[in-house]
Symmetry: C2
Subunit: 427 residues, 2 copies
């Protein structure tokens, strides 16, 4: 993958709020804010670094609480300008934290169980959170085209955000994607380009394009804008704690695709502790994968520090990244916090989707079936404490993966008469 560096003079004046630099997660080397994603010293991943030093805790809390019902209530903690809420964007976030008492009963949880339901976002997945950050970075850097490679949720999130913000969008997908997914991405009217090849070919092509003059002015949300994009996942941590009354949950169950979301939720929780917005006490982070794409779970169970790539084969397509970039960081967080990483079969995923729908009225994407299924498995294994406060993430909407529950059908077919109704035993 091409590595880009920028001269500090060209970007030192961008206003991305409290973000003051990019910092290498491996060696700590700092560079000015710019559309770069890999450290020029050690090729490690760059992430946003902030100056929160001027914040008074109670003033910050009041500012957040009086902010909009979207991720922008946390603008003081994100790489975005202070007036971000006034710019055209999809205003994602502030999704329901569902108190899941019925599910708790079924699972034998005696403590509080919550589902953070991100299907309520504008394009119905958590991707709206991260794309919204990338959009602000794209504005700051003067990009005019928003782009990404995708096989699903991200394509729609980028297409929708670009449409609303007045950006051109150009999204690259494998040319043989299912028609439904193509429609969901194409409807926003941006360029949707099919690449003759598989998802790896698409990614390789995007990396080439970033290094080429043809890609000038293009912001790839999850490549050259990745350090900003990834920060959007912190808002899940912020919202969960605020919705719990400024309190850390004891346990979180988070899906793993690249692993970025899990690491950023951990980062967000640590920030809230450092800022004094929540009490500093231990929390455990659990990662969830599908058995058909479980490189991190496999490494966790084997006690490895490195993650061996796998070839994905699961219905949980939005988690099907066989070589997760943040895998090692996820292993570290799970071990450091006393959590774990577990996986469930596709059959367990489908069962869990139905369980969540039937108990709480939340229809989750396959990724939500993975986290609920893993929660059940971790409870059986004694790794999750049933007496503690637990938050399980649902990151997408069941309407996007209808195929997973195809065949869920009528409980009876009757003639339109009371006799037929009684015969069917429905009375």
């Amino acid at each position: 993958m091409a590595v880009q560096t920028v001269a500090s003079s060209s970007t030192s004046t961008v206003d991305l709020g409290p973000a003051v630099a990019l910092s290498c997660r491996e060696c700590g080397h700092r560079v000015p804010l710019g559309p770069v994603f890999a450290c020029e010293e050690c090729f490690g991943p760059l992430e946003a670094a902030y100056d929160f030093s001027g914040y008074d805790t109670e003033e910050l809390r009041r500012r957040i609480e009086s902010g909009p019902a979207s991720i922008w209530r946390y603008a003081p903690l994100l790489p975005v300008p202070a007036d971000v809420a006034d710019k055209p964007n999809l205003n994602p976030g502030w999704t329901n934290l569902v108190k899941a008492d019925n599910l708790a009963r079924e699972l034998g949880v005696t403590g509080e169980l919550f589902v953070k339901d991100d299907s309520g976002n504008p394009t119905h997945s958590f991707k709206d959170r991260v794309v919204a950050q990338a959009l602000e970075a794209a504005r700051a850097f003067g990009f005019t085209t928003l782009s990404c490679s995708s096989t699903g949720n991200l394509a729609g999130a980028v297409g929708a955000a670009a449409a609303r913000a007045g950006f051109r969008s150009c999204v690259f997908i494998p040319h043989d994607l299912e028609e439904g997914k193509v429609v969901m991405a194409a409807v926003y009217g941006g360029e949707l380009v099919g690449i003759e090849g598989n998802y790896d070919d698409v990614n390789r092509f995007c990396s080439e394009l970033i290094g080429d003059p043809a890609g000038e002015g293009w912001g790839f949300v999850n490549v050259n804008l990745r350090p900003y994009y990834a920060e959007g996942s912190k808002t899940l941590a912020y919202e969960i704690c605020e919705q719990l009354g400024w309190r850390l949950p004891d346990q979180l169950v988070i899906p793993i695709a690249s692993g970025s979301q899990l690491t950023k939720i951990d980062k967000g929780l640590k920030e809230l502790i450092e800022l004094g917005l929540v009490e500093d006490r231990p929390y455990k982070i659990f990662g969830a994968q599908a058995a058909g794409c479980s490189p991190v779970s496999t490494a966790f169970k084997a006690g490895h520090d490195v993650v061996r790539p796998q070839k994905p084969n699961t219905i949980a397509k939005s988690l099907a990244i066989g070589n997760p970039a943040d895998g090692p960081y996820v292993l570290d967080i799970a071990r450091r916090t006393g959590g774990a990483v577990e996986d469930v079969t596709d059959e367990e995923v489908v069962d869990a989707i139905k369980l969540l729908a039937r108990t709480e009225g939340v229809f989750a994407e396959t990724a939500g079936g993975v986290t609920v299924g893993v929660t059940r498995k971790l409870l059986k294994e004694g790794l999750l404490d049933p007496a503690k406060t637990t938050v399980v993430l649902n990151t997408g909407d069941g309407l996007k993966t209808l195929d997973a529950v195809a065949g869920t059908g009528l409980s009876a077919t009757i003639r339109p008469t009371l006799d037929s109704f009684r015969e069917a035993g429905l009375a």
Copy 2:
């Protein structure tokens, strides 16, 4: 349809907040709160009547503004107990009011244009608002089964709400519904019963069931709980005005199915004026139908007071009610406020869905295509004033009517090379 009456003694103690009785919209006859929907004197429709006399305007405004980010911030104005937000329900509402500057430009609107986007509700249609009211009435009357007849959005909304609230649900649909729609409703695990017959047969059967001992303990959200159910649409009026800074819009464009939503939005606006929460000034209400099911639009244009039933034939299935119960009331409101009722072809509906998606990143159900399409037509006809503040409703999600935009596809297919990219003219 069977008409039921109840003895006042059995229901006079139910707590539905400020709702004190049911009142006939035709003759004004009052009956106690109960699971009844037609006047015992004149067979007119019953609706909730309130006692708002104790409210102080500024105190009420503060109470609403400090309430939850859901319809329950308006609990003081709805037929629900004061502690409704603490009971298990889907917490719908407080959806985005999208400032649609891009769409305004395309349509030649010089004033403010907004889209009230109800696809953000838990099951992604406005039906969650009305079902949530019916659920509270069902609780108050001691019902244990939540039911309805449906061909789509309502089935999912009832199934989800019942699951979360711990009610049994039993939803009746025509037996030959498309598989996708069946899955969306069946996933919540309630009874989903196919009726051998068309939608009229399903409705007829439900009316029979209500009058039969087999239907005892059953709350049909849109039949015997209709007077409560329908009030949920008032929350659209409340939210729009609060989101505009406690201000009435000049013009609203609202879809018409039964017409209930439009009449209740008008009721909600009038309540806000009476309560002093908004300034009393004129507003115009416009109704939107699909040409393939346009009984109200046809009557409006012909100057008739009565609505002649039609046999629906349109892709806007959620609006396809050929004999709309509230049609005459809609005609009255459109004429009294200086609005109009208009209709658009299925082709215009599809165009409008794409227009809204491409300009604002909002992917609407066919019903949203109807309102946006009608807005465009009314502007061309000079019936909508382009210089005024206009709110257009989108009542559902495009993911539920993907077929309408099927064929929206790739803009190009290329090999994974820069040369191929350049040849396609994408640079």
